[in-house]
Each structure stands twice: as C-alpha cells, then as structure tokens.
Symmetry: C2
C-alpha cells in the first residue's frame, strides 16, 4: 500500500452518490492500480456497494462519517456541521498524513470554505482559485479563477498566474506554461485598473517561471497559442459556462437534425468516426475536475452531475497532481 | 424620397471600405427599396464605385469628407479630427434632420466617443451601452453591454435592462422582452454588490415595461427562456467573444474533418441541407450590427470585418430600429 497514491474521497456529494463514487473507483482501478482509496461517508451504504465489487475491496478503506453536506446547503451551515461530515474528514485526512489528495463531487462553496479552514492558505496567498481544464486546438488549457472569488485585485491575478502555471506544469510536465490575462482587447490600455496593473507587473517581472503572453480575448481562448488563461472568478465562471452553453447548443442542434430523415441517417453512417471523435473531444467528462489552488494541500472538485467515467477521469487528474508535486511547485512558482 | 428611411452611412471604416459599403448598399437595395442613403466619405472613391452601379444612383447621395478615422486610431485622436471626418459627419447629419439613423463599420471606440459628443446622452443615462444580437433556441437574444463600459453600477444595469427591452421591442414588436441579469449563479446571494442591488430593484419595481426573470448563468444564454441578457461591458464582451470562439472551434473542426477521406465526403452529400441550415443559423453576418444605446439618436456599428451581406443585414436592422421608434421607446421604458 505504501507505494500507492492515497486519495481521500468524500463519497456523499453530487448526484447519485455514493453509488457513482464507488462505480468511478471501480472503473479507475480497472484502468490502473496505482491508487488506494480512503472512502469517507455512510458505512452501511458504502459497505453494501463495495461488497458487490470484491475486486476493489483490497484497494479501499471505508471510514464512517455520521453526517454529510447537502448539495444545496450554505457554506456557513456546512462549516457548522464541523468534523461530523464526510467532506470535512476527507480534507482533514491530508493533515493527519493519511492521504495525499482529496476528491469530492459535493457542494463547491462548502468545499472551498472547509478546505480553507482545514488546510489553510499557502503563505502570502490571500484568495484561493478554482482552476479547470478547457480544450484548445492543440491540447488543453488551464483556466482560472472559475468562481472561487467574485472580485480580484492585481496581486490576486498575478498569484493566479503563478499557481495556474504550476498546475499546468504538474499536469503536463513535458510542456511549458504560457500565460495570458483574459481581457476585452489586446492593447495595454484596455480593461480595468486591476488587470492593467497585473499586466505591467507580469510584463516587467524577471523572476517568472512561465512565459507571459499579455492579454487574450475570449474568441482566442481555444486557439492553443497560450495554455493558461487567467481571470477573475466572475468573468471566468461566465466565460466557461457560456462556452459550455454554446457547445451544447451546437451539438444538440446537429444531433437532432442529423437524426431526422433517411438521408441524414445514411450520412451519419458515413461520418460516424468523425462525429464520434468530435463527441469525445468535447465530452465534458474528459475535462472533469476543478482544482482548488492556494491551499496547503491539493483538493479536486468533480462535477456534481458527472458519472463514473467523469469521476475516474478526475482520479487520473489527482494522480498527475500528486506525481507532479503541485503544492511544492506552487510554492516554487510563487517564489516562497 | 420623403417616404424613405434615410440612413447616414460612414463609408470609410472597416476592412475593404468603401467598396464593401457600396456593395452592401447595392445588395440591400436589391432586396428592398425602402431606403435612401447619405454616404459620407471620399467623393472620388465613392463616385467611382457608385458610377459602376447605375441602379443604385437614385437612392444615394455622396457627401464628401476630407478626412477619415483609421480603424486603429485612439478615440482621443479621432475626436480631435473633429468635423472633417466621415464618421463625425454621418453622426451629425441626424442632428441636422438630414438622416434618421447612422451606420458605420469603423472604429468602435471612436464611434462611441463621437456619438456621445454629437448626439449627447438621453436625460438620466450616465453610460451608453453596446447591444448585440445572439441566437437562441427559439429566436434571438439582445445582449448588452458588449464593451462600451468596463465597470457598471446598479443604476447602469437597471438602465441597460430598460434600454435592452426597448431595443428588443423595436426589433421584434410581436414579442415581449424578458430580461435576465448574467450572473455566476441563480440564488439571490450570488454575484457582486452591484448586480445584487440591481436584482433587488428590478424585482421590486412595479413600473417596468418588461418581465424580469432574475439571474441567468452563461450556459443558459441560448436556451430561449429569456431574450434580453444584461451584464457589464467587461463580462459581456468576454462572454460574446468566448461564444464566438467556441462556435468557430467546433465548426472548423467539423469542416476540416468531414472533408477528409471519401466516406466523409459522401456523408457531406447526404447531410448537405442540415449542415447548410446549421451554417446559416450560426453565420455571424446574420447577427451583424451592434446598437449604441443611451444616445439621443440611433447609431449602428457594423462589424469591421463583415462583407456586403453582413452590411446589408445591418441596414435591415437600421430599418427595424427606425420603424420601431427606438429612441421614443427607450425614453418611455426609462420612464422619462
């Protein structure tokens, strides 16, 4: 067990949990046996599920928690439940040296607050950020902040740049982080004061561990010329969701209309492989998992509505983060 | 001529101008003869172009302007050129009663500044907004602000709601405006202070000329449940461009891959009609034209890189705006 990457899993959050969580663990173990899972949640439900899958038993330990945080619960109410919840205990297990990373498909606001309370912030970082993956023409972007903070000042944006670069390097060690600030134009005078100040400081800094590519506009996020896109949480959340909505609009339109009538159905047979690859490339499960950055320990948030495939993908992400020594890298990139 | 809608056209801005402008006017006149065009710009270039198209001559007047504003020029430099430019004169013609609306494919920042200087703001409006059209599942959204202002307070967002509703009603008189504020969540506690204050006031107001649907998230912009989406110019600009980028990413991918290999090419033959309709529905030229709101006169900004088709579409938009009495409607919706 010592050579395994130990993931603390909050099994009680998100749709169809804990069944989905156990199914995701099973799927992940079929593809790789590099993990040991500490599963936090209701022991009766979890034992029942795990007992049905004897092949995963040796790779799991169930830790009973009497309480859980509801998906719609306020962060304050979540924090008041204290140590009794599966979310709290799955985060706290890192502090006790029992796990290397925490994975939850539960309430995002609660996960942010509890992670901050339990793991505390990295020295010098004032705000945590939520980073996500987003496809581009040649690979994948890291985009942050996706909504951990509504307002950001210049220092936050600079910290997000360093942390995003460290995350990119952890996930894609063979590649170099290329950072841009998301803005409404490319000229230095564009945008609000905070972004202009961040731009100047990033441009002038000689101690960066990444290439700074200035500003990027929304229509170029997916071009692949940069791979880390930095913005405040309000803008980042809306940009990500708008992209999702646009992709859904197009794919639904095509799906509905290409299934109408015989000619279109014949066409689908011929273009099956292209459409299949296209569907895979835009499959949100492929990019499932947002990473909480700025804390003294790695925490991954799986989408609440994903399925076992999405969950298994965020387990893969957890492994890359642990092997890529994310927290050490962040501290190095921040110059701590 | 008196029964015609008179459009003042700045012919000198945008890619391939003034040729594109004259081609767009020609295309528009082929489809409808309800306009008379006052074309502002270099008379030698314009006479040459118009003389090639005798069928449009009776519907045009060329007004020579010695100067023009470059697409990359700063708004300040543009304003200093004063009355000598085609942009200035095309806007000013409204004040002199010579035209009913202004259309330009030129420099957006300059158009905003000059429009404000020449037409001045509607009483009580502090900031102009740039509104655009965006497809949704059942029709079209009006989205504003797309970048006229970086920062907005609660009053601005409320004014944008009224102005956006008035624009929607002018363009689609048979339909009713349904407004939502673009935010990072649907709950009342979500978002920054300005948006929360605007939400409360819009919710409580009993004098509105539109239905207020609360908040909307980025992934639901295209659902068609609301038709006027209100946000600050920073977020709106990034959301619109991100949607454009996502749509481009997907359509380019499909185009490139469906053109590879014999099987795919056969498939294209069978699905030709669906793909053609799809292409038309997402064609940016269909939605070409952003409307400057908050001024004492209507000004439409055509995309600088559009072609004659896009320009003819923004002429159609101008006609709807004039017939829909946009400025009167805005004043009514604002309660002025």
């Amino acid at each position: 067990m010592n050579d395994k990457i130990i993931i603390a899993v909050d099994a009680m959050g998100g749709e169809n949990s804990p069944k989905k969580i156990v199914d995701g663990i099973e799927l992940s173990l079929k593809e790789s046996n590099e993990n040991f899972f500490k599963i936090y949640g209701n022991k009766d439900k979890l034992n029942f599920l795990v007992n049905e899958k004897p092949e995963i038993k040796n790779y799991c330990e169930i830790i009973h928690c009497v309480n859980q945080i509801k998906d719609e619960e306020s962060p304050l109410s979540a924090a008041k439940k204290n140590k009794s919840t599966s979310m709290w205990q799955s985060i706290e297990s890192q502090n006790k040296g029992k796990s290397q990373i925490t994975l939850s498909a539960g309430n995002t606001g609660a996960l942010l607050i509890l992670s901050r309370l339990i793991l505390s912030m990295i020295n010098g970082i004032e705000k945590p950020a939520l980073a996500g993956l987003w496809p581009n023409k040649i690979g994948t972007n890291v985009v942050l902040d996706l909504g951990a903070n509504i307002g950001c000042n210049d220092k936050d944006l600079i910290d997000f740049s360093s942390m995003g670069a460290a995350l990119y390097k952890s996930l894609y060690p063979e590649d170099n982080p290329k950072i841009a600030l998301l803005n409404v134009g490319l000229e230095e005078i564009k945008g609000h004061e905070e972004i202009k100040k961040a731009y100047q400081q990033l441009k002038e800094s000689t101690k960066k561990n990444f290439d700074f590519h200035g500003y990027i506009e929304g229509n170029h996020i997916m071009d692949g010329n940069v791979n880390v896109i930095v913005t405040d949480g309000f803008t980042g959340n809306i940009a990500l969701k708008t992209a999702e909505g646009t992709a859904n609009f197009i794919t639904k339109y095509l799906k509905e209309n290409l299934n109408k009538g015989l000619l279109n159905k014949i066409s689908l047979l011929f273009s099956y492989n292209v459409l299949k690859k296209f569907k895979e490339q835009l499959d949100p499960r492929k990019y499932n998992g947002a990473i909480l950055l700025g804390l003294n320990g790695p925490v991954v948030k799986s989408h609440g509505s994903t399925d076992s495939r999405g969950l298994a993908n965020s387990i893969k992400m957890c492994n890359k983060i642990v092997k890529g020594r994310l927290i050490e890298k962040i501290k190095k990139y921040l110059g701590n």
